[in-house]
Amino acid sequence: MSEELKESVVTDVLVDPVSGFAPGARPFASRLSAESVSLGYAGRPVSEALDVRIPDGGFTVIVGPNACGKSTLLRALSRLLEPTSGSVLLDGKSISSYGAKEVARRLGLLPQTSIAPDGITVADLVARGRYPHQKLLRQWSEADEAAVVQALEATNVEGLSGRLVDELSGGQRQRVWVAMVLAQQTPLLLLDEPTTFLDIAHQIELLELFRRLNGEGNTLVAVLHDLNHACRYATHLIAMKDGAVVAEGRPADVVTAELVEHVFGLPCLVIDDPVSHTPLVIPLGS
């Protein structure tokens, strides 16, 4: 892609035609943000001087091709990865200045891979999400119990609570993990590729659950692979390529054929989704 086209794509996308503001600078409240962070693993830089703000009360979805740094960004936002420079701010303070349990009371994360111990029951696993709220002598308060009940109900797995996690289907198991994160009762929820390995029906079911949680006031951030799911469910989209944010804003404002071709190298048509009236990406093929 030529510099000129890249420039035009970026301008097209970043300037909001209504407000005239670039959405990145649009005044929205943000409890969680990355300020000029550089990220990488053991001498392999992934992102340089990245600025990202997560809008409060939104459902932010990060998309981009494989190895574009989207999961790395999510890991940094959830303090699993220490930035090599810059800082991640949580409620105005550097996230690394908080105690480990304090962060876990404000921000929940569903990691890409977790291990359910052999023979653990659903409720037992979900109850482990209460750890950041517990103390040496206060290991199972009324609030703990209420939070677990609520999390089981919200994810619609209360009927499974006595079952072994090993015996569940993939879709059920993923909802149980979401319940564990919900039991943490954090206003911020970060989800790293939550729908991967699920069939289409279970993907939609889970995304509907996320939308409902978002509607109940939670701020969600998810890394998703499927662009059309992102367009349909996100209230705020962040498109990444080669470790940099290429575009961000409402999917309807951001997703164009040019952007998709620029980010994914995929020629496509963007039409109106007849159901949700969000952008629908149709690949053209070769």
Partner: protein, 362 residues
């Protein structure tokens, strides 16, 4: 389990269905609360009772046998003379140490099996005991021995081995499987060093080295009990703060960190406590094998729980070691076997059973 309802002073059952009978205990206006699994509670209580009952029996057994009621009154300080001498002065330190060391091995095994997420990840498999033996051998052969010198040698040998295994297994943090493989390799090398050391020794030295190397509670006196109680107590205090993190670490590094567990710090503290527990046992009684391997898994199967629990493992370890020590003293009386010989036999049976189960499963 319905009869249990009447038997137990039941607290409120949880409103969440855990798939197992679970009770919540809340006291002092909610400042103290606990969630207990009833099956785990019962199994632990039964194991502890059995261990204590065996301990009382053990106190009465021997050349000078004492009836159980007399043992009890001796323990309560109501007897004097010969019975008091035999029960309290001679036998009690040994039986008490069997209980304490057995519990310590159970806990140590549970910590390592949980950290490595592997039923084979116990300190005796990953080379600690062999290294402790090497340290003890060096002291016995080069410096002539003595109980505390040998203990110190074993301690140093075990800790150096643990550090070596850690260094060999380290690759961007510690992974359970690498730790086990590195441990087995280091253990095999040290075993050949040990054999070489014994071959070079005089017959007398080799005999005493071999007895120490099997792990034995013979010749235990009160002098050895007190240090163990202090060290064990201190380690248990640390564990009460860190033990609960084991269950979270089992869910994977990211999940544990996301829930607010500081990963490397927690792992280091837990591993150091596990090593220190084994070091304490080895220093006091030599490398008693297989209790730390078998106790947590046996307890886990009895409680049918997802994770290896520290408390049930401790109860199981205490029970196993007391039972083994009774067998060691009385099977071929008047000849006393080192207790390590019995635990190795029990451990062998356990491994055969485990293998048979795995084969059947496939």
């Amino acid at each position: 389990m319905t009869s249990l309802d009447q038997a137990l002073p039941l607290e409120k059952a949880t409103s969440v269905d855990f798939g197992r009978r679970t009770i919540a205990i809340r006291r002092f206006g909610g400042r103290v609360s606990l969630r207990l699994d009833v099956r785990t509670l019962v199994v632990t209580a039964v194991l502890l009772t059995a261990a204590l009952a065996l301990a009382v029996v053990a106190l009465g057994l021997g050349e000078f046998s004492v009836a159980v009621p007399d043992v009890v009154s001796a323990l309560l300080g109501q007897s004097s003379g010969a019975v008091h001498m035999v029960v309290v002065e001679w036998r009690l330190p040994r039986v008490l140490l069997a209980l304490l060391l057995g519990a310590a091995m159970g806990v140590s095994g549970a910590i390592f099996q949980s950290l490595t997420r592997n039923a084979l990840g116990s300190p005796d498999v990953i080379g600690f005991n062999t290294g402790a033996y090497t340290g003890a051998l060096v002291v016995i052969l080069l410096m002539g021995g003595g109980y505390f010198a040998v203990s110190a040698g074993a301690l140093v040998g075990g800790l150096v081995t643990a550090a070596l295994v850690y260094v060999f297994a380290y690759k961007k943090g510690i992974q359970g499987f690498r730790l086990i493989i590195a441990g087995i390799a280091v253990s095999a090398m040290l075993a050949s060093v040990n054999t070489w050391l014994i071959l070079k020794a005089s017959l007398e030295q080799a005999m005493s080295a071999a007895v120490w190397g099997a792990g034995s509670l013979n010749k235990i006196t009160w002098d050895q009990v007190l240090p163990v109680m202090i060290v064990f107590g201190a380690l248990l205090v640390v564990l009460s703060f860190y033990g609960r993190r084991l269950g979270l670490l089992e869910m994977g590094d990211d999940a544990a960190r996301a829930l607010g567990v500081r990963l490397e710090g927690s792992r280091l503290v837990l591993a150091v406590v596990g090593v220190a527990l084994t070091a304490m046992v080895t220093a006091a009684a030599g490398p008693i094998a297989f209790v730390s391997l078998a106790a947590p898994q046996l307890a886990r199967r009895l409680t049918r729980s997802a994770s290896v629990g520290l408390v049930p493992s401790a109860a199981m370890g205490a029970f196993l070691l007391v039972a083994s020590d009774i067998a060691a003293q009385n099977l071929f009386a008047p000849t006393q076997l080192p207790v390590g010989v019995v635990t190795v036999s029990i451990g062998g049976c356990y491994l055969v059973w485990l293998l048979a189960r795995e084969v059947k499963r496939q």
